[in-house]
Symmetry: none
Subunit: 248 residues, 2 copies
């Protein structure tokens, strides 16, 4: 069996099951344990899945990250509502930071062309250029999969800028653990962005409330949360921080 075929098979098995054990893959492929381990290494490097002890799990919601394309479909109407709502906070010729990600991407059609945007999401560039918006890009390591720019280099590059407002995505929000994201390198970026902005906005659809992921980058009370529907966790947070609900 061809290496590339095995890789496809593994990903399709994962697409159904969300998690898979090493032994299952071995049964399906007649390949050795070593080979499958190497496959998982390779696929993880490409951001196609996440390795866990005993096997692998899909690079999708909650624990793990979704790829850009997968994200852009889930909760699209909700994200669109959040994005257009968020864009309304920007007044006049401000300079804003726009986080990499699918929700922030949806803000671009609602942006006034006279503003200046700084972003770590190269995938935003075509739309920003189309709208004639002055754009600065953060430099650094390009993360495979989500294609955000991250790393020590990116953080240093970021420090040169100060923002009137920042719009930042998040993977999990809980009362105890605050704002979390799976990748520490991405968390470092978000943390710095928040520190260098006068006004801070966290864009999070309702699925993000009550879940937590690996790395904390801030507390809900340091920012304005923009979401699409209220949840138990959101209700609890209402005493501490400002929550704006954008109805789709």
């Amino acid at each position: 069996m061809l290496t590339a075929e095995r890789h496809q098979l593994i990903l399709s098995l994962l697409a159904d099951k969300q998690t898979i054990r090493l032994q299952e893959i071995i049964d399906h492929t007649n390949a050795s344990e070593s080979t499958i381990r190497r496959d998982l290494d390779t696929l993880e490097k490409k951001g196609k899945l996440n390795r866990v002890h005993g096997g692998a799990s899909a690079a999708t919601l909650t624990k793990e990250e979704a790829t850009m394309s997968e994200k852009s479909e889930k909760f699209h109407a909700e994200k669109e509502a959040i994005a257009s709502f968020a864009a309304r906070f920007i007044k006049g010729k401000e300079t804003i930071f726009l986080d990499a990600g699918s929700t922030t991407n949806l803000m671009i059609p609602h942006l006034d062309p006279s503003i200046t945007v700084v972003t770590n999401g190269p995938e935003h560039l075509p739309m920003l250029a189309e709208r004639g918006i002055t754009t600065y890009l953060i430099g650094g390591f390009v993360k495979p999969g989500t294609r955000a720019v991250i790393g020590a280099n990116a953080v240093e590059n970021l420090r040169q800028y100060r923002f009137d407002r920042c719009f930042v995505g998040v993977n999990g929000i809980t009362e105890e653990d605050g704002l979390t994201t799976p990748d520490p390198e991405e968390a470092a970026i978000k943390k710095n962005v928040l520190a260098q902005s006068l006004s801070r906005y966290i864009l999070a659809d309702h699925s993000k409330f009550g879940t937590r992921t690996f790395t904390k980058f801030g507390d809900p009370e340091d920012a304005i949360l923009i979401t699409d529907a209220s949840t138990p966790t959101a209700e609890k947070l209402k005493s501490k921080t400002e929550i704006e609900v954008a109805h789709p």
Copy 2:
């Protein structure tokens, strides 16, 4: 059996199966291994399939469409020849700088995935990611139109890196004015890139020789010029600098 016939057959075999082994094709064609390998090389260059170890896998539609639009560009065949020729200079696991632009973009399919690329061209990222190439992006002002990253900020960001080789585009080459490009900000980038590289390559189709534009960023003798055809200006320069002619 005719070469073109074999190519058709290979593509039709792939149309059903998604992936195919080299041996399968050999069985179907009575051609030698070498010939089939050459066929796969050719077809991959045309974007009709992706080579994988042991055979080939079907190319996605988007890639096919992308190569279609690429082909409509000016001097496409010449640029492709220059690009694939240039890529051959890279040995092993080196770190290279890849300039923004259409000619350098054509190098990407010919790059070894084990190298590291630094670039000021965000438009290269999708293809670099697809090939699984480790990539660092220069940060700074995003130039509308060409979408290169330029400006003082970009130059400063650039200074952190040292390259084994750099591959740089150019707008004009003359004996008197050297290497020129219209935008001073872009020239600044190119100048610094050249200074920080052990080996320097200028990619220029024949139309660039004998024309000069606004800003000079270097002299031909500081780099190896890669072009597609000899011109009077190129002949004059041959005494001063190395010129490699890549025939389409």
